[in-house]
Symmetry: C2
C-alpha cells in the first residue's frame, strides 16, 4: 500500500476499490475466484487506482464509477503479471509464490485471460465510449510493448530510444490510462485531461526506470523476488545501455559474452555490476528518472490547489523513492 | 476452407473477410504482423465468419460491418489457439509448426494477448453496444470453459454434464456469438436473434463433439497434429465418459492407471481404444452429436427459404461430417 500521509484522505475510496475488486472476482467457477483473490490480495500497492481516484478528485468527485473502473485497471495489471510470470518462469512475486509456481503455467495463462476478459466486460458496463476506448487501446499498447521487449532480449544493439519506447508502452500506458479515466470521471476539460494523461505517462516512465534500477541494487527481501532478475533473463535496461556507451572494447566484449551464456549465476553478474558502478550509470539513470518526475509535476501546472493535487505531486516523487 | 457448394454464394463476402483480417493485422510492430499473419493464414476453415455472414444474410444484407466483425471473431479464436498450444505444449497445428514451437512460449502468449486486445479494440470501433457486449461476454465464457477443462484433466469423476458445460463454454459460446452478431447486423428481431444464437450453440456443441471423436479415430495426416492427443494430455471426452459407465471394475481400474501415468505412449493408449470399441461409445457419442445437429436445424424453423438458410442447414450437417 501507498504511504498513509499521501493517500489517507482517500482511504474510504480505496476501501471501496477493494470492495469492487472482491465483488467482481466472484466467478461461477469457484477456483477462478480463489486464484484471482490470491494474486489480487498479495500486497499490490494499488498505485494505478490511486492515480485514477486522485485524477478524478482534482476538480470534482468521480462518483461511484471510480471503484469499478479501478477494478478494471487492477484486473488488467494483474493479468499482465500472471502472463509475465509464465514468460519469466518466475517462482516469487512480492515475496509470495507465483500462480504459475502454485497452480502451473496453464492456470496462470487462463486466469490471466479471464481477468483481461472480465476487465473488458466491466469497462463495457460503464457505457462511456471514451473510457472503453482508453481501456481497449491500453491493452493493445501493453501487448505491443511486451512483444518488443521480448524481441530485444539479449540484444546489445538496443538504444535508449528503444528502452523508452518499451517502458512507455508496457508500463506508462496503463499509468496514463488510469489518469485519463479519472479525468473523464471527474469531468475535467479535454485540455486538463491531456495534462493529467501526460502526468500519468511521465510518472509511469519514472516508475519503471526506478524499478529497473532497483533490480540491480535492492536485496531479495526488499524485491520479493530473486536479485538481478532482469540481467539473468537477458533484459537490457537503461543503466546497462548507458554503460555500454562508455565501455572499452574489452568491457563491451565481456558484456556480449555474458549475454551469450545460458543460466548465468550471481558470480557471472558481478563484472556487469562493476561496470555500472565504474561509469556511475545507476546514478545517471536515476537522475533521468527524476527528470520525468519533474516533467510529470510540471504537467499539473494551472490546477487549483487541492489535497488531490498535493497527493499527485507526492506520488510522482514516491515512485522513484519507494523501496520496491 | 468450407465446401464450395455451401459457401460459393458468399465467396465475395469471404474475400472481404480475408481483406479485413489482413488489414487489421498490420501493426506498428512488424514482427507481430508477421507472426499473426502466419497463424491466421495457416488453413483455418473460417467456420465462425461463415456463421456470422450466413446469420446476417438470413433476412437482409449485413453490410460492411460483417467483415471487421468476422475479423474480431477470428482474432479471438486465434488468440485461444495460441494460448492452447502453449498449455498443451503442442508442436503442430493444421500440419504446421505452432507459433509456440517456432518463436517460443513468450511470443505465443504475448501475441495471443495482442490479438485479444486488438479484437476488443476493433469490436469497440463498431460502436454497437450489443455487439460489444456479445464479444466481451464470450471471452469471459471461453476463459471459464478452459479453466474448468484444465481442472478436470485426468479426473475420471467427470460427468456427461461436466463435459457439456465445458464444450458449451469453450467452443459453442463463440459459435453462438458469431450468429448473434450476424443477427444484429442483419436486423433480425430479438426472437429471431435468439433462434440463430441457439442454432450456433447447438452447432458448436456438435462441432466440438465431432472434434473430440476425431481425436480417437483420425490419422495424423488428417488431424494435422499427433493422434490421440486428448488422451495423452489427460483430457477426458464423451466417448470415454460413456465407456466408463459400462466398464467392469477391472476395466475401470485399467483406465485409472492409465491416467496416473506420465508420458503415455501409443501402446498405453490401445487398451483404452479397445474399451471404446467394445462398448461402441464412439458411435454413441457421434449419435449424440447428430442430435445437436438436428436441434440446431430445428432452431431455424420459421425463417423464409433463402440460400443462407440452406447453407446454415448444410453447415450444421458439415460440422459432424467434416474430415477435421
Amino acid at each position: 500500500m501507498m504511504p498513509q500521509q499521501m493517500v489517507g484522505f482517500i482511504e474510504e475510496d480505496l476501501k471501496k476499490v477493494e470492495g469492487a475488486i472482491a465483488h467482481h472476482l466472484e466467478s461461477q467457477v469457484g477456483f477462478i475466484s480463489e486464484v484471482a483473490r490470491y494474486v489480487l490480495s498479495s500486497g499490490g500497492k494499488r498505485v494505478r487506482p490511486v492515480l485514477l481516484i486522485l485524477s478524478a478528485r482534482l476538480c470534482n468527485d468521480g462518483g461511484e464509477r471510480m471503484y469499478d473502473l479501478s477494478a478494471v485497471i487492477e484486473f488488467i495489471h494483474t493479468a499482465t503479471l500472471l502472463h509475465d510470470d509464465v514468460i519469466d518462469n518466475a517462482a516469487l512475486r512480492r515475496g509470495n509464490p507465483t500462480v504459475h509456481a502454485l497452480w502451473g503455467n496453464e492456470m496462470a495463462i487462463l486466469i490471466g485471460d479471464y481477468l483481461y476478459s472480465k476487465a473488458m466486460a466491466l469497462a463495457l458496463s460503464d457505457k462511456d465510449h471514451l473510457v472503453m476506448q482508453t481501456v481497449s487501446n491500453v491493452t493493445v499498447e501493453m501487448a505491443q510493448g511486451q512483444v518488443i521487449e521480448t524481441l530485444k532480449l539479449r540484444d546489445l544493439a538496443m538504444s535508449e530510444d528503444d528502452y523508452y519506447r518499451i517502458i512507455d508502452l508496457k508500463t506508462a500506458s496503463l499509468f496514463a490510462a488510469s489518469c485519463t479515466i479519472g479525468a473523464v470521471l471527474g469531468g475535467l476539460s479535454p485540455s486538463q485531461r491531456a495534462q493529467v494523461t501526460a502526468f500519468g505517462q511521465h510518472t509511469g516512465i519514472a516508475f519503471q526506470m526506478a524499478d529497473d534500477i532497483l533490480d540491480f541494487v535492492a536485496p531479495e527481501a526488499q524485491l520479493g523476488k530473486p536479485v538481478h532478475n532482469d540481467l539473468k533473463e537477458g533484459k537490457i535496461t537503461l543503466p546497462l545501455i548507458m554503460a555500454m556507451q562508455h565501455a572499452s572494447a574489452q568491457e563491451a566484449q565481456m558484456v556480449v559474452e555474458y549475454f551469450h551464456k545460458k543460466d548465468s549465476t550471481e558470480a557471472d553478474v558481478q563484472p556487469i555490476l562493476a561496470l555500472l558502478h565504474k561509469y556511475d550509470t545507476l546514478q545517471c539513470a536515476m537522475a533521468k528518472a527524476h527528470e520525468h518526475v519533474l516533467k510529470a509535476q510540471q504537467c499539473l501546472e494551472g490546477f487549483a490547489p487541492s489535497p488531490a493535487l498535493d497527493a499527485l505531486h507526492a506520488l510522482a516523487d514516491y515512485v522513484v523513492a519507494r523501496d520496491v
